[in-house]
C-alpha cells in the first residue's frame, strides 16, 4: 500500500458520466480517509451506483479521475482493484456455485492458494455468518444470504478500501444489525463507502454522509450536521428538502 495514514485512501476528482445527452454523474469530487465510513445517499437514479461503478473500474468516466490507495482506477486499474473490496448493486454471484466454491474462486483470482486461501475463506464465512450454508449452491439461498455471500467476497482479501452498494438491502432487521456491527468493527482500519437509501443507517454507522441528487453532490457533512439543516431535525425532512428542491418550499 502506497498511501500512509495521512493521505486519503479514496480520491475522486471531478468525476462525470454522461449517457448521450443525460448526465448521470456531474463533477463529483470527494475523498475518504482511513477510519471514515461514508454514507452515500440519494434517491433512486441519483447516480450513486454509477459513481461506485466508476470507482470500482467497471464503468469508464466521461471526465475526471478516481484513485484508490493512490492507484488511478483507469490507468492502473488492476492494482486499484487489488486494494478494493466491492459489493456490486444486487450482490451478483454465480448461481450454480456453492458458497465455498464461489469464495474459493475469488480467493484464487486474488492470488491466495492452499492454507492461506482456506484460512481467508473461513474468516470471511465467519464474519458474515454463512457457516450453515457453505455447501449450498448460491441459487438456493434467500436474498439475505446472497447479499452476505457478496459481502464475504468483498471482505475476503481484507482490503483497505471497501465500496458497498446497498449492503443491507433485503436483509431482515437482525441481519441489518449484524452487518452494521461488522462495518463498525472494521471501520478504524479501512476507508468504507456504503450507498443506501435507508436513512437510519446513516446515523447508525456513518461518520460522514454525502447526499447526491441528479448527479450532483448537494450536501457533504456529518450525520449530526445534516440533521441541523432542517428545523425538524429529522434526516427524512433534510433528505426531502435536499433532493426535491423544486417542491421543498
Amino acid at each position: 500500500m502506497s498511501a500512509d495514514s495521512s493521505t486519503p485512501l479514496i480520491e475522486i476528482e471531478g468525476l462525470t458520466k454522461r449517457f448521450g445527452a443525460f448526465t448521470a454523474v456531474d463533477r463529483v469530487s470527494f475523498t475518504v480517509a482511513r477510519g471514515e465510513v461514508l454514507g452515500f445517499l440519494g434517491p433512486n437514479g441519483a447516480g450513486k451506483s454509477t459513481t461506485m461503478r466508476m470507482l470500482a473500474g467497471f464503468m469508464n468516466p466521461t471526465a475526471g479521475t478516481a484513485r484508490i490507495c493512490g492507484h488511478d482506477v483507469q490507468t492502473d486499474s488492476v492494482a486499484a482493484r487489488r486494494t478494493l473490496g466491492f459489493l456490486p448493486e444486487g450482490a451478483p454471484t454465480y448461481p450454480e456455485m456453492t458458497v465455498e466454491a464461489f469464495l474459493a474462486f475469488v480467493a484464487a483470482i486474488r492470488g491466495y492458494g492452499g492454507k492461506e486461501a482456506g484460512r481467508r475463506i473461513a474468516r470471511a464465512i465467519e464474519l458474515t455468518t454463512l457457516q450453515g450454508v457453505r455447501m449450498q449452491p448460491v441459487e438456493t439461498l434467500s436474498k439475505g444470504f446472497k447479499r452476505r455471500v457478496g459481502l464475504a467476497q468483498a471482505l475476503l482479501h481484507d482490503p483497505p478500501v471497501l465500496v458497498l452498494d446497498e449492503p443491507t438491502d433485503g436483509l431482515d432487521p437482525n441481519q441489518k444489525h449484524e452487518v452494521r456491527a461488522l462495518i463498525q468493527q472494521m471501520a478504524p482500519e479501512k476507508a468504507i463507502v456504503i450507498s443506501t437509501h435507508i436513512l437510519e443507517e446513516v446515523g447508525a454507522v456513518c461518520t460522514r454522509a454525502i447526499v447526491i441528487a441528479n448527479g450532483r453532490i448537494v450536501a457533504d457533512a456529518t450525520p449530526a450536521e445534516l440533521e441541523k439543516l432542517h428545523p425538524s431535525g429529522k434526516l427524512d425532512d433534510v433528505f426531502r428538502a435536499l433532493t426535491l428542491p423544486a417542491k421543498a418550499a
Binding site: 488492476v78 466491492f86 454471484t93 454465480y94 474462486f105
Partner: protein
C-alpha cells in the same frame, strides 16, 4: 487459468454439459453412419465423420457461446468478474479456453468411432489424428466468433442467431454458392473468400496434412475474434 477452471466447472454443474455432449454424439453418430454411409463405403477411415463435424459445430458451438457473456450480463456477475483484479483480456481468454476445453472433451468422447474403424480395418491413424486436430481448430474458430458476438448483446437468442449466421458465412465462403456469385461480381473477392473459409482450411487436416499456413490462419482467426471480443467487452460492459 482460474477463470477458465471456474467456467468449465460451471458447465458440469448444470445440465448444459450433459445435454450438449449427448446431442453432439447422437448427431455425429446419425450423420456418420446413416447419411455418411460409414459401412457401405468399405473404407477404413473417418472421412464421413469429419465431413459432418464442421456443420454439427456450426449448430452446437453457438449454443455454448451464446451464454458466455450474455449470461454474465443478465446475472450482473459481469460487474463482479470485471472488478476483480484481472484484466479484461484475461477474462476473455479464460472464458474462451473453458469453452474450448469443453469442446475438446466432447470431441474426445467420440473415441468409439476410432475404435470401430480400427476394429473393422486398418485405417491411417495419423490422418485421423490430424482430422481431430482440425476439428478442434474449427471448434475454436467458431467459439471465438460466438464469444465476441455474445459480448455484443444481452439477449442470448440474438447471440445464437448471429453466431450461427457469421460462422455459416465463414464455413461456406469456399463453396460454389459464394465463390460463383463473387467471381461474377467482384472476382478479386472470390479468392479472398476462399482463403478465409474455415471449411477449406479444415479440408487439409482431414487429408492428413498439417500446413503452417493453415495453423497460422486458425491462430490469427481466433486471435482476431478474441481481440474484438475484448474491445466489445471494454465498450459495452456497463450497458
Amino acid at each position: 487459468m482460474i477463470v477458465a477452471r471456474r467456467e468449465l466447472g460451471g458447465y458440469f454443474a448444470t445440465p448444459v454439459a450433459v445435454v450438449f455432449i449427448v446431442i453432439f454424439l447422437a448427431l455425429q453418430g446419425v450423420l456418420t453412419f446413416n447419411l455418411g454411409n460409414f459401412f457401405d463405403r468399405n473404407q477404413a477411415d473417418l472421412a464421413p465423420f469429419f465431413n459432418f463435424i464442421p456443420w454439427v459445430f456450426l449448430l452446437l458451438v453457438p449454443a455454448i457461446t451464446m451464454r458466455l457473456w450474455a449470461e454474465e450480463r443478465r446475472l450482473g456477475t459481469i460487474e463482479l468478474l470485471l472488478t476483480l483484479p484481472i484484466t479484461q483480456g484475461q477474462a476473455v481468454v479464460g472464458k474462451f479456453l473453458a469453452a474450448w476445453a469443453f469442446c475438446a472433451i466432447a470431441l474426445a468422447l467420440t473415441f468409439p468411432f476410432i475404435l470401430t474403424v480400427n476394429f473393422l480395418g486398418k485405417p491411417d491413424n495419423g490422418v485421423i489424428a490430424t482430422g481431430y486436430l482440425g476439428a478442434l481448430l474449427v471448434a475454436g474458430a467458431f467459439l471465438s466468433v460466438g464469444s465476441a458476438l455474445s459480448a455484443a448483446t444481452k439477449n442470448q437468442v440474438i447471440a445464437f442467431v448471429l453466431a450461427v449466421a457469421v460462422c455459416f458465412l465463414f464455413a461456406v465462403a469456399s463453396y460454389p454458392l459464394v465463390t460463383d456469385f463473387l467471381s461474377k461480381t467482384v472476382p478479386t473477392l472470390a479468392e479472398v473468400a476462399r482463403r478465409l473459409s474455415v471449411a477449406e482450411r479444415f479440408q487439409g487436416f482431414t487429408r492428413g496434412v498439417i500446413s503452417l499456413r493453415d495453423l497460422v490462419y486458425f491462430a490469427s482467426f481466433i486471435g482476431f475474434w478474441l481481440y474484438l471480443n475484448t474491445v466489445i467487452v471494454e465498450h459495452r460492459k456497463a450497458d
